[in-house]
């Protein structure tokens, strides 16, 4: 099990309604429904992945979050999860707005473009970095809007979005991110996990 999913699962209270936006193969959905008493739904853009989810009996709807989040009423889920997908949207800002409208709480995870390996790649090689979390070439990447943990942190502050918890994930290691260690964590984290509220 991906370490990220364990962290996400710990953030979610029992007996809550959860929407996994960009749920992929439904691995997180299955993990959540096995380990928690939760009512979990998914939204996924890839037909192949939706078919896989439905074959496993998961309640997943084929759709594009940029248009299809609109069909969910305000605050209709206790948690809305967006795992490593924000960077692929045309308009991440609008998607975040919609997530905060639909969910009472929102969990967003960000592949951190501020990680030291990425910075070194760019500094010494002068090429767009390719890593485990970001395995694409610049010309075929679906990731349109890469950001760092610091960037997303600033974004939330500027937009008046409350950050309840920020967790750093580096390999298997998790740690808390606080305003005082933010600069450092932005350098060493592969992934930032944010728990947000409007």
């Amino acid at each position: 099990m991906k370490e990220e999913f364990k962290v996400i699962s710990k953030l979610i209270d029992e007996k809550s309604r959860v929407l996994d936006v960009g749920c992929g193969d439904g691995i997180l959905m299955e993990y959540l429904s096995k380990n928690k008493v939760v009512d979990v739904r998914g939204l996924e853009i890839s037909k192949e992945k939706v078919k896989k989810c439905l074959s496993n009996g998961l309640a997943v709807v084929e759709g594009n979050a940029e248009y299809d989040l609109k069909q969910f009423p305000d605050l209709s889920f206790d948690y809305v999860i967006l795992s490593q997908t924000l960077q692929a949207f045309m308009s991440p800002e609008n998607v975040i707005k919609d997530l905060l409208r639909v969910g009472k709480k929102v969990i967003v995870t960000i592949p951190n473009f501020g990680h030291w390996k990425i910075r070194l790649d760019l500094l010494f090689k002068g090429e767009m970095p390719i890593t485990k979390n970001l395995p694409y070439e610049w010309y075929n990447t679906p990731n349109l809007h890469m950001c760092t943990i610091q960037d997303f942190y600033n974004f939330c502050n500027n937009k008046g979005i409350n950050i309840f918890k920020t967790i750093s994930l580096n390999g298997q290691k998790t740690s808390k991110i606080t305003p005082s260690n933010l600069k450092y964590k932005n350098l060493i984290s592969e992934l930032g996990i944010f728990l947000l509220e409007k």
Partner: protein, 377 residues
């Protein structure tokens, strides 16, 4: 059609109040079953047929000697696996395969009821079929499923009986029949009614039959079941058993010959008045209107799990109309899955060998059957 005695049916004794205001009672409802009902009676699936279908979803139809209309989907090891599930399928009222319909002989006159048959609705069809649950003493169905008009019946069933099915599979359908679809149905009806042999619906079926009109209705409808790309790939401008155009009105093109054939075989198995009544029922279907303009209200009382499927090349019941159902369900936080299957086979996809479609249903049903019985729903 000598094998009519091989048709199973129940007689519905208690009066059924129809939407048109009339009441019917003591009428037959023909059905067929596949597989076995288990001891717990929790493995029953009620399948609803489309416009020209009947109760013979699988195997060989004993009346027509043709394969069942959903042979690709229903049977041992298939999507609706009859080794696991007990599949029930009934002929809708208004139909012509043994259920009460315009072709039923009125004992008073010894003639078919014809257009004296009351106009029926999808709601009436579903209410009549609900009697099958009592007949088999099934407290709750595992699933209700159907494509096209069968899908409309699925939606109506859950709306009428919110907690009588654990799973609902409406496929390639709509919650509200569109103007375009009403138009196509009207075209078919006009073709039938302008046939001199229709005789205001009082043809006897033996010496006279509006075959020409019914065949044209079927030809027109058949085009709407296929996609442009599918037609082009299958027929293109290929000529029918000739090397050049004949400068006449015979079937020069393969597509013409194909449509004529589809029309001619259809009249052997279908009653023209049934075609009128059933298309009318589809046109009247507007579940949204039934619930004051809010489709979500149709499903508000239900805990049913929905799995909605549409097809990319279906322009008769296109994806947006199927998605409207998804949206209405999401609006009330219902348990809903939805996928649009990629295929060039048009609306007919749900009847054909579309492996992605069939395997997804098969897996969904077997996983969900385990899930709902473990976790209780």
């Amino acid at each position: 059609m000598s094998n009519f005695n091989k048709i199973k049916s129940i007689t519905i004794k208690q009066p059924l109040k129809l939407d048109c205001g009339k009441e019917i009672s003591n009428f037959p409802l023909a059905y067929e079953t596949y597989g076995n009902l288990n001891e717990k009676k929790d493995n029953a699936i009620l399948i609803f047929h489309a416009l020209t279908g009947d109760q013979f979803a699988s195997g060989v139809n004993p009346v027509t000697n043709k394969e069942g209309w959903w042979n690709y989907a229903v049977g041992p090891g298939k999507a609706f696996d009859t080794e696991k599930f007990f599949v029930i399928c009934a002929n809708v009222i208004g139909g012509c395969m043994g259920s009460y319909g315009p072709g039923t002989v009125d004992p008073k006159t010894n003639k078919p009821i014809g257009t004296n048959f009351p106009v029926i609705t999808i709601n009436d069809m579903v209410n009549a079929q609900y009697n099958l649950l009592d007949h088999f003493k099934i407290e709750k169905l595992f699933a209700v499923a159907g494509g096209s008009m069968g899908g409309m019946q699925v939606l109506q069933f859950v709306s009428n009986f919110p907690n009588k099915a654990k799973v609902a599979l409406p496929i390639a359908c709509t919650a509200s029949h569109s103007a375009q679809n009403i138009a196509f149905n009207e075209l078919g009806r006009q073709a039938i009614m302008s046939d001199i042999n229709w005789k205001d619906g009082l043809y006897d079926g033996e010496t006279s039959n509006p075959d020409k009109g019914l065949a044209v209705a079927r030809m027109a409808a058949h085009i709407t079941y296929l996609s442009k790309k599918g037609l082009q790939e299958k027929f293109g401008r290929n000529l029918q058993e000739r090397s050049d155009l004949k400068f006449g009105f015979d079937a020069d093109f393969q597509i013409e010959s194909y449509l004529r054939y589809q029309g001619s075989v259809f009249v052997d198995r279908f009653d023209a008045n049934s075609y009128l009544y059933i298309t009318r029922a589809m046109d009247y279907f507007d579940l949204t209107k039934q619930h004051g303009g809010n489709l979500s209200k149709a499903f508000k009382e239900s805990k049913t799990k929905f799995f909605i499927i549409s097809f990319t090349s279906d322009w008769l019941y296109p994806t947006p109309e199927n998605k409207d159902i998804v949206i209405a369900l999401n609006a009330i936080g219902a348990d809903v899955g939805f996928v649009e299957i990629k295929t060039d086979k048009g609306h007919d996809s749900f009847l054909l060998d579309v492996p992605d479609f069939l395997s997804t249903i098969k897996n969904y049903l077997s996983t969900t059957y385990l899930n709902v019985n473990e976790r209780r729903i």
